[in-house]
Structures are given as structure tokens and as C-alpha cells.
């Protein structure tokens, strides 16, 4: 996506915010004893107030009531809810398809919050209305770049009385392999994308000023250093102009891979998916005179020291991503 496409995409994405996903949905059955019993069996719930009419008589409710956490179960669509992403039938499906069509094929449920106003009584008829409440800005996450979508559901009974609410947040993201193929737009359906891949490190967002560097690492197994072709000055991180002579022309050299640790930290928290903790993070003085941030491997955290000589090691992640690391010099 170029900048204009991206803008148009974001604008269209925002139009989903505030929309109900469809008409309010009423449960297929009123609150009833058999469903309560089956749910309790499945969940291992044995409290007599839910299961034994005689015991329930002695409670303040005087009869069997439904477990509060069953709230959503009363309005579940059943098997039908598995369909619909190819031919969306509500706004939520349309939103997910819209994102999937633009390369955001990954889906990950992140969190849910439920509020129960009171216990439900036998015979009550539950109706739920769900609204697309929020779509976050684009976030770089451990899974890849994506959007958090929050839906809010309000539950009422047949008299319109409030009986509870639920918010549910999912991350819709571009799996790294697709993010790398710049355009995205793989257009997979939601079902297959729901099988999430093992999390990988956050990939560098690629632009004209840095993509060439990562491509050289990947294709040539080297650590490139940008060089001004006007005056020969090296510079890292890469930038589009030489700050010494103003030239916009440049090439690059392959670093020798030798350097020393200028400073370091051992990262324990917070821990992001896709990284192995603790991480020994280092700033390396390269032999060529430039400095770079990297990771030290093949070294125990307690053995790392400022001034330690290190050597380059092009590390390859399980997903094939290559990244220049260092290890203690042999």
C-alpha cells in the first residue's frame, strides 16, 4: 500500500466504529434447567443452587438460577457462527473480511471483560446487541503489525431490563511473511488465518531508507555500513543524505564484523512474544568506527562486560528472518 492507499484504507476502516454488528439477537431458548445442567457438567460446576431445585428453594432466590458466567451462552448462534467470513452476513464479518483482504489475515483473541448485573431466572429471554466500539491505531505487536478491535455487547431480558455486558478484544494482524511482501493483500479467509503461527520477533518496518540494509543482510549474509560516495564518510543507522558533505549518493561496504562492547543491558521485563529472555542488548563499536545496537548471543548474562571484543554472527530465525547479532570474539 502506498501512502494514499493507506489513507483511504484507514478512512474506510474507521467507518466501522460505532456500528452495531447487526440487529439485536435473541437467544434460541429461554433460560432453562436442561441447558444450565449441561453447562454445569461441561464446566465442572457442582453448586446446588444451580442444579438442585430443592436446595435452591432454600436460597434467597427461592428457585434455580443460571450461573452468571453463562450469560453469553444464552445467545450463542450455534454451528452457524462458523460460517460467514467468505460471504459476510453482519458488520463484524465485513470488518474482518475487509482487514483480511488487506493482508491482516491473523486473528488473536486478546481479552474479554464481562459484567453481570444480576442472576438470571428460569424463563427469562436473553437478547444481545453488539456494537463495534473501538478500532485501535495500527500497532506493532509481537505477532506483527495490526489493529485491536473491541466489540461491546449489552444483554437485556424480554422486558428490556439490563442483565449484563461484555467487551471483547481481538487483534487482527499481518503475519510477518505477508507483511514482508510489502503489498499484503493475501486475501485469506478468517478461518484458516485463525490458526496462529508461533510468535516471532517484531520485524523492522521497511521503508526506502532502510529496506536495502535488511535485504543485504538477508541475501548476502553481511553487516552493511552505508558509505557516502561524495566524501567517503560511513554512517549508521542509514540516512538519505550525508551530514558532512550533503551528498545524496551512497553505497555500502560490508563490515569486518569485529567490534567491542560500548555498553550493554540485560533485559528481563517486560517480555514480548517472539524473543528469548533475558536478552543481552549491546551497543557495539564496530572496527570501522561506526556504532550499532545489536544482541549478544552465546554468552551468559553475567559474563558480558563493557570493552569485551565481539564478532558478527548472522542469526536466522525459525521463520527465515536474518538479523546481525554478535558473540564473544573467538
Amino acid at each position: 500500500m502506498n501512502e494514499n492507499d493507506k489513507k483511504a484504507f484507514e478512512t474506510q476502516l474507521r467507518t466501522f466504529v460505532g456500528r452495531p454488528i447487526g440487529p439485536p439477537m435473541t437467544g434460541r431458548d429461554p433460560v432453562n434447567e436442561p441447558m444450565i445442567r449441561q453447562w454445569c457438567d461441561a464446566m465442572g460446576e457442582t453448586h446446588p443452587a444451580y442444579l438442585d431445585a430443592k436446595a435452591a428453594k432454600g436460597t434467597i432466590h427461592g428457585e434455580i438460577k443460571a450461573p452468571p458466567t453463562m450469560l453469553q451462552a444464552w445467545v450463542m448462534e450455534g454451528w452457524e457462527m462458523h460460517e460467514g467470513y467468505d460471504e459476510p452476513k453482519n458488520e463484524q464479518h465485513r470488518l474482518h473480511k475487509f482487514l483480511a483482504d488487506h493482508g491482516y489475515t491473523g486473528v488473536l483473541g486478546t481479552n474479554t471483560e464481562e459484567n453481570y448485573t444480576r442472576y438470571l431466572r428460569l424463563g427469562e429471554q436473553v437478547t444481545a446487541e453488539t456494537v463495534i466500539a473501538e478500532i485501535s491505531d495500527e500497532k506493532a505487536t509481537g505477532r506483527g503489525i495490526g489493529y485491536f478491535i473491541t466489540t461491546r455487547t449489552s444483554f437485556v431480558n424480554e422486558k428490556g431490563e439490563d442483565i449484563g455486558s461484555m467487551s471483547f478484544r481481538v487483534l487482527r494482524y499481518k503475519p510477518p511473511a505477508e507483511a514482508a511482501s510489502a503489498g499484503g493483500g493475501a486475501g485469506k479467509d478468517g478461518k484458516s488465518a485463525a490458526v496462529a503461527a508461533k510468535p516471532t520477533r517484531i520485524k523492522p518496518p521497511m521503508g526506502q531508507d532502510n529496506a536495502w540494509w535488511w535485504e543485504k543482510v538477508a541475501k548476502e549474509n553481511v553487516l552493511p555500513i552505508q558509505r557516502c560516495t561524495g566524501c567517503g564518510k560511513l554512517r549508521h543507522p542509514p540516512r538519505p543524505m550525508c551530514d558532512a558533505c550533503g551528498s545524496q549518493k551512497w553505497d555500502s561496504i560490508a563490515a569486518s564484523g569485529r567490534g567491542t562492547i560500548h555498553t550493554f543491558t540485560v533485559i528481563h521485563y517486560p517480555q514480548f512474544p517472539g524473543y528469548d529472555y533475558p536478552i543481552v542488548s549491546i551497543i557495539v563499536d564496530l572496527e570501522e568506527g561506526e556504532r550499532m545496537a545489536s544482541t549478544l548471543v552465546e554468552c551468559k548474562p553475567e559474563q558480558v562486560a563493557i570493552g569485551m571484543p565481539v564478532e558478527l554472527l548472522i542469526h536466522t530465525d525459525e521463520d527465515g528472518f536474518k538479523i546481525p547479532f554478535f558473540r564473544p570474539a573467538k
Binding site: 520485524k203 518496518p205 521503508g207 555498553t263 542488548s281 545496537a293
Partner: protein
């Protein structure tokens, strides 16, 4: 026309919401509550305000705040970049506007659901192609994802170079926690901290332990800035802006200026110090109290040196001499700071600076004529000196 900003503008009002871990309201609600309180504090009406300044990171746009609060016509607004580095920049922009007549009364604000909403240090986000995001690309893949990790790289080098230890950092954290015990708005009130508490907390990014790092909070804070002349006739005792500047130094990056000669110093803060001392005609010896930006404890050590309160490498001895406490040479963050009051991105430290001039701090030292307040460390930043009329 004035040729410098010296004594041209003053803070005439401050306002803040309750600070909490879950505000339960929108950021716009927090922003407008703080702004309205700052206007009330100054004894003005919303219609007297004609300018607004906030952070680029703030989600409450100027016109939304204006419409909500009932501010009418505006002739000046701006936003300052670089997270906590913006704090003093807000004051600088507002002071310039009132000093030049671009606006009469400018409110600066910051409001965030920093704990219950979008939290800091959760990795970096943004548009795909921007110079800023490409900048982060040199760090994110390597796991350098949080402010603690970036600051730790500099802190490690500083401590090794000058022999500073965890005990020195602990002194800073414990002193500010002690200050928070008298502050009814402080998140850490009722939770005093011992050296054992500090040492037993988990390591985040070596050498930073948990209590070397500031908190995450929800809240809003605002200041009303007007001309020094008008401020004299308003409701509160003015905090006159003796000097104010933004400061970015050669080789500056946002949190990752790892490519300079000496990583055990803060050259952007040294630049800020040089300018504000020149503007004000004051020196470190004239500063009676400070609110030095304190997202992480080692930042205090390096700032004490940058602003000349002690020599290079001497900050560790300065803090162990109880210099930052009420009776010390430089009472610092008397409200508890970002570490122990709340993380309002530095605007709450500005508000405390104003209270110290008014004489209304919950921990008020005697005879405060000049207070130094600084912005974010490791980012393009700034510094301000408040003084008496």
C-alpha cells in the same frame, strides 16, 4: 518588542484531576477537567483563553478541548513532539505566544489514560512509513522495545564510568517516595519504601530495578500561562518564567542517541542549562528547589551534573548526602515526582514547580525563590526556571 523571553510570561493557574490507575472516563474528559480547573485557579473565565498547547502524543485535540470547556475564539495553538520531552516545550510555546501578543492567555495540558488505556512501553506503533518508525527499526528487532531498555544502556555506562551503584539509585527512589507520603494526590501515598523493598524488587533491565522506573497512571494536568504583567492582577501568586528553552543536541535521536562521544552525559540537558542560565542571569547556586524529570532514577544523577549542581561523576555523592530531601541543598520532586506521585508525562512536575514558588507544596521548603523544572531525558527536551514576581 522583547528580545528574550526573560520575565515576560508567568504561570497564573494550575489544574489537575485525580490521578488513578483507572479513571473510568475519556482522555478528553480528563483534559477538559484539568484545563477548566487551571482557568478557575487563575480566576479567569473560559472565554478569556485564546490559546492551547499540548503534546503530539495527546489524544485530545485543541478544538475539542476548546468546545468542551467553552473557550471561544483562539488565535494560537500548537503541539510539541517527543513524549515527555514536550513538557517544558509547552511552557516555551505558550510563553512565546503571550510575550509576542499572539495570544493573551494560553492553557497547556496533558491528559492520558496511561494505565487503563494505551500504556507506554508496550512496543512501538505507528504508520508504516515514517522517519520515526524507520528509526525504531534499528532497535525493535533486537528487543530494545521499552524506555527502560534504552535508558538502561546509558545508565550502565554511566554507573561503570563513575562508580555509581544501586544504592545511589535507591536513595533517589526512596527520597521521592518519602515526599509522596505527604501528598494526598500521590499514587504511592501510604506506601513508604525501605532499602530492602527497593533491592528486593525484580530487575527490569539491568541496572534498573522495578522502583527505578516510574509508574503508569490515568489523569490530566494543565497550566495557564499569561503575560507577567497581567498575572500580577490575577487570583494567584504568579510563577514568573525567568527562562525557558527547548533543547536538542547534535546527534539527537528519540531515546536512542547512542552514537555520540560520551554516553555517560546528557548534552541536550547541558545545552538547556547553558541557555536558561544565560537568559536568567542565574546559576546552579541560585536554584532553591527542582523538579528534575524522573521517568528513571539514573536520569536524576545525570541531570544534577548537566545543570551544574555538582561536577561530572559526583552526583552519586550528592544524592547520598541527602541533598534531594527537604532540608537538603536541592529539594527535588517534593510531590513525589513521576516515580511516586503520578506519570503525567512531566506536566505534574511543572505544576509542582509552580506550587513551590507559591509556597503551597505539600512539602514546602523555606525561602524558595527559584525552581528548575526539566522535560524528558534521552529525548529532545527543555528546561524552565520559575521565579517570584
Amino acid at each position: 518588542m522583547p528580545t528574550t523571553i526573560h520575565n515576560e510570561a508567568a504561570v497564573a493557574g494550575i489544574g489537575q484531576t485525580a490521578y488513578s490507575k483507572k479513571s473510568g472516563v475519556s482522555e478528553l474528559s480528563l483534559a477538559t477537567e484539568a484545563v477548566r480547573k487551571a482557568i478557575d485557579d487563575a480566576g479567569l473565565r473560559p472565554s478569556d483563553v485564546d490559546g492551547l498547547v499540548t503534546y503530539t502524543m495527546d489524544s485530545s485535540d485543541e478544538v475539542e478541548v476548546a468546545r468542551t470547556v467553552g473557550i471561544g475564539d483562539m488565535t494560537f495553538w500548537s503541539k510539541v513532539n517527543y513524549g515527555g520531552g514536550a513538557a517544558v516545550g509547552l511552557v516555551a510555546h505558550a510563553a512565546m505566544a503571550v510575550a509576542t501578543g499572539m495570544a493573551k492567555n494560553v492553557v497547556v495540558y496533558r491528559a492520558l489514560n496511561g494505565r487503563s488505556g494505551q500504556r507506554m512501553g508496550q512496543g512501538v506503533s505507528g504508520q508504516i512509513i515514517s522517519s520515526d518508525l524507520i528509526h525504531w527499526s534499528w532497535y525493535m528487532p533486537f528487543g530494545l522495545l521499552t524506555p527502560a531498555s534504552w535508558i538502561a544502556l546509558q545508565a550502565k555506562l554511566y554507573m561503570e564510568k563513575y562508580g555509581a551503584t544501586s544504592e545511589h539509585l535507591a536513595h533517589i527512589a526512596i527520597t521521592q517516595r518519602m515526599h509522596a507520603q505527604n501528598n494526598p494526590n500521590a499514587a504511592m501515598r501510604g506506601k513508604p519504601m525501605t532499602m530492602d523493598d527497593y533491592m528486593n524488587a525484580r530487575m527490569i533491565c539491568e541496572p534498573l530495578r522495578l522502583f527505578d522506573c516510574c509508574q503508569e497512571d490515568d489523569g490530566g494536568c494543565a497550566l495557564l500561562i499569561t503575560s507577567a504583567e497581567r498575572a500580577k492582577d490575577m487570583k494567584q501568586k504568579p510563577a514568573v518564567i525567568r527562562a525557558v528553552t527547548q533543547a536538542s543536541f547534535e546527534g539527537q535521536e528519540q531515546m536512542t542517541s547512542f552514537y555520540r562521544e560520551d554516553l555517560a552525559a546528557l548534552p541536550e540537558m547541558e545545552l538547556a542549562a547553558k541557555i536558561i542560565y544565560e537568559q536568567s542571569g542565574l546559576g546552579a547556586k541560585d536554584i532553591d528547589a527542582a523538579c528534575l524529570y524522573d521517568a528513571f532514577t539514573p536520569e536524576i544523577l545525570m541531570q544534577l551534573e548537566a545543570f551544574g549542581f555538582c561536577g561530572k561523576g559526583e552526583a552519586k555523592d550528592f544524592v547520598t548526602a541527602d541533598s534531594l530531601t527537604l532540608g537538603g541543598a536541592l529539594p527535588n520532586n517534593t510531590h513525589g515526582g513521576l516515580l511516586s506521585e503520578a506519570y503525567l508525562h512531566g506536566v505534574n512536575n511543572l505544576a509542582e514547580g509552580v506550587r513551590l514558588i507559591r509556597g503551597t507544596s505539600c512539602n514546602q521548603p523555606e525561602g524558595v525563590d527559584h525552581v528548575l523544572v526539566t522535560s524528558g531525558v534521552g529525548v529532545p527536551t527543555g528546561a524552565v526556571i520559575f521565579g517570584q514576581v
